[in-house]
Symmetry: C2
Subunit: 520 residues, 2 copies
């Protein structure tokens, strides 16, 4: 749907010159893009234009959107801490539709299958296009080339960077809040739809021109902790329900039961021990995926045995990390999103379980961030290639099905480990060239599969540290050959159209790759 | 030292057109100045320019200032949470002197007698002038007309407004931190020089181009709570001592023993009870002055007797408020500064004792603030006039001796009560016209002296509420006449020079009054 000029970026990928009317620089290499200019600057407000006694309640989302001066073509943002249980973002877009608004840019931190009806809003012209992670049906819609603008995929840190740098000026932020007071102070810790942190909405609250907090749990002022500060908020709307608790947090997160994946988790644990990375005061990040959870279950007894504790753990929190916190195995959980009930309860009550935001953890256009302080991180990928480049966005058939999350940002850790099976449903994971480049290989140090551990040749320090320690060290090429043999040769490379449907931005706002239309 | 054109503002006061090269609008009336434009926008940074593993330590303040690119004419800011025990601000200015720097604008949130040596730095040209509260010797120096620029007095909220609105761009903020980690996360709660909140330094950390954190208590990452976020910080400097604990917080704050002042406090307590303002869920603010503390001591038993609790209390915290919090008489302390040891201990350990900043509490150029939500506030003043106008900056001889603090911001409370003796050391407090106008009478509802309680005639609601309740209600005129009679007539009005030495800014950045040179 978009015809465009293309350039080849520093990673050798063809990327569009223009993206939705902007001209983001092409990827220039890790650390090579040097931003200039000033941060975005919202309008100066005056207390004389706000209710004298602090009560900012409005009777409905429609009324609040009208009061915000909603107009065609505006950018409306939302956050995804309610995940697939969110009822607010769609309500806001539907309220905008009722008001007759057209051509909105919807700017969620991520979208989920529960937002599938936005496809209709795009078909009827209410929503022009989406910038943000599109998990599932919306990704499929984007892949089909029917969206009027390009999808723009950013990491959590990249979304903060884009807002902060003025790349995406937000007109109206709609913030679903599990608890809020009439002034707009809000948090995700308490209430019937508690989701833990609200960090993904923080940039929206600070930089958007207008901010609406939507809550189903209005509490007396002051709502504490004020993860979102009412001083950034224009209106507060009370609704019956902001979401479906059963889809917001899991009752409990699930560890993989696959023997292959448990083996991978075990390899990762043995690697970080033998490499000397697990030592007193170390730090790590591991997500909520099955392998990462299993890794944590191998790590904990190892730490007990070694008599070491971690200074902190970053990242999404689960009951496994909460148990380690309670036991004293980790000093702090610096939490970006809260995945299960045990974690929600912990963040609400334990001062060592600290909500963070993409600003503190991930923003590359700040004065440093936490990601670079982490000793090691355990991540996944849909594909890796022989240069350690990795893809987390598309499948090998080219379909855009996943967001970036914090994945790109986490690559700044001192040791980045990708833990992945060498095949998924007979699809080979180690390819000659990744379908989509999400992260450059120079930032990926170790790839762990059930067939062995591959260390980047230029991490001589790691290679030497683990030599002779009995780990199944192999080259990526060896593992790939083995898989080729099993599968009857290398995978056939699908042929893509030359029509761009989305771009992948790097942590510094440059364009690292293009997602191409998939003919269905 | 400054010759200038003057205009008469909406309060009828003569104010300079130009202030230190800027042209702030003259006071236009309460709520009448409507700001335009965008907030200040600091430069976009990149992680690629900061230490990859987060360690921002520098060996000395001099080295850090050099790394910040310190140049002549820059603006260097500091905060005053260490009060008269601060050793950091002067060290920073002296380091700048050693580096040969000239003509700095020093922009402290307040200065104290411990900063008296800055007079020498002004005499030798290192510091050009001071904008910020000048308590004691620096106020005297300013009053004498020897400072090269105009003093600019702002409220705590007004200082946030000035930074946020870009009125005062800070080149380098030097933040004394009782606890910090190598990344720059910092707080005032912990460590040998703990001072409680660091809220006065928050705007500096967010908006300054360069930020140096100076600490005598380096803790392992992550330093929690991060009242100052390391993501805003450029350098961290470790020193032996940032201040003298005995001058930072009192061992214990002192209630007045003066019978007159105790009577005033009792009148205030009776007034808020009889006016129906003390009721279940009410809120209040009372400072750390002798009368305010005594008022709190009268309030607590009254609340117990009435069986009511306060939803929150704002303002500087003392052991008296902490006791009320622990007893459950107040739900939360929303704390701007922490005055004694009991309060420091409480803010470090009790999640209901919450550090706030001038942004949340006082900034008039935000989307509301907490000050307007407070039910009543008990404040002091050096002078009031018959129109309820008040002065907190100068004495009746014209000398500039006090900052504004949060005083102007607090006037937004639903009921503003000034509690003051009718005479101080034979100086009459109720005058025909205030020497300096700090706050307009239309925002001051009640003036309580030992000779009676005066309610503004247009607060008919208050007048009716307390009628017939046995309170000593009088007009300001009556009280003034009584004091005239005791003192042998009205005070002689000193004659001031027509040379401006400082201006008083209103909460919206307009100039409400001028401080004139005092001939000594």
């Amino acid at each position: 749907m978009v015809s465009a000029d293309f350039v080849t970026n520093a990673a050798g990928r063809k990327v569009p010159v223009e993206v939705n009317g902007r001209t983001p620089p092409p990827f220039a290499g890790v650390g090579q893009h040097h931003p200039a200019g000033q941060k975005a600057a919202p309008s100066i407000r005056s207390c004389s234009d706000y209710p004298r006694r602090g009560d900012k309640r409005m009777p409905s989302l429609e009324a609040a959107l009208e009061a915000c001066g909603l107009r065609d073509g505006m950018t409306l943002s939302s956050h995804h801490h309610l995940r697939n249980g969110d009822r607010v973002a769609l309500s806001a877009l539907e309220a905008a539709a009722k008001l007759g608004t057209k051509d909105l840019l919807w700017f969620p931190s991520a979208s989920f299958p529960c937002h599938a009806p936005v496809v209709d809003l795009m078909e009827t012209g209410v929503v022009h296009h989406i910038e943000g992670s599109m998990n599932g049906p919306l990704g499929d819609y984007c892949s089909s080339g029917r969206m009027r603008g390009l999808g723009v995929l950013r990491s959590h840190g990249g979304r903060w960077q884009a807002i902060q740098d003025g790349e995406v000026p937000i007109d109206i932020a709609v913030i679903a809040a599990p608890s809020a007071d009439f002034f707009g102070n809000a948090n995700g810790c308490h209430g019937p739809t508690a989701c833990g942190s609200l960090g993904f909405a923080l940039a929206d609250s600070i930089y958007a021109e207008k901010v609406i907090v939507v809550t189903d749990n209005l509490v007396p002022f002051p709502c504490l902790p004020w993860q979102i500060q009412g001083n950034h908020v224009d209106y507060v709307v009370e609704v019956d329900s902001i979401g479906d608790p059963s889809q917001i947090v899991s009752g409990t997160t699930q560890i993989t039961r696959s023997p292959d994946r448990l083996l991978i988790a075990d390899y990762v644990a043995r690697f970080v021990k033998e490499a000397g990375i697990v030592r007193d005061g170390f730090s790590f990040q591991a997500g909520a995926g099955g392998i990462a959870l299993a890794f944590v279950q191998f790590l904990a007894p190892m730490m007990r045995e070694m008599g070491v504790t971690a200074s902190f753990v970053r990242g999404g929190s689960t009951r496994y990390l909460v148990e380690m916190l309670r036991e004293g195995l980790v000093g702090y959980i610096l939490d970006g999103q809260t995945f299960d009930l045990a974690a929600v309860e912990s963040i609400a009550t334990d001062p060592r379980h600290v909500p963070t935001s993409p600003f503190t953890s991930y923003n590359y256009h700040g004065k440093g961030n936490f990601a670079g302080i982490v000793d090691f991180v355990v991540l996944g990928a849909t594909e890796v290639d022989l240069n350690f480049n990795a893809n987390v966005n598309t499948h090998s058939d080219g379909r855009l099905l996943h967001g970036i999350g914090g994945w790109q940002n986490c690559l700044d850790a001192d040791c980045t480990i990708l833990a992945l099976p060498s095949m998924r449903d007979r699809i080979q994971v180690i390819v000659d060239e990744v379908t989509t480049l999400t992260g450059p290989g120079e930032l990926i140090d170790v790839i762990v599969t059930e067939r062995g551990i591959a260390i980047r040749p230029d991490r001589q320090d790691l290679l030497e540290a683990v030599r002779g320690k009995g780990l199944p060290l192999r080259s990526l090429e060896e593992i790939q050959h083995e898989v080729h043999a099993l599968c009857g040769g290398p995978p056939r490379r699908p042929i893509f159209s030359d029509e761009a449907v989305a771009v992948i931005q790097w942590v510094d706002g440059t364009v690292i790759d293009t997602v191409w239309k998939v003919e269905s």
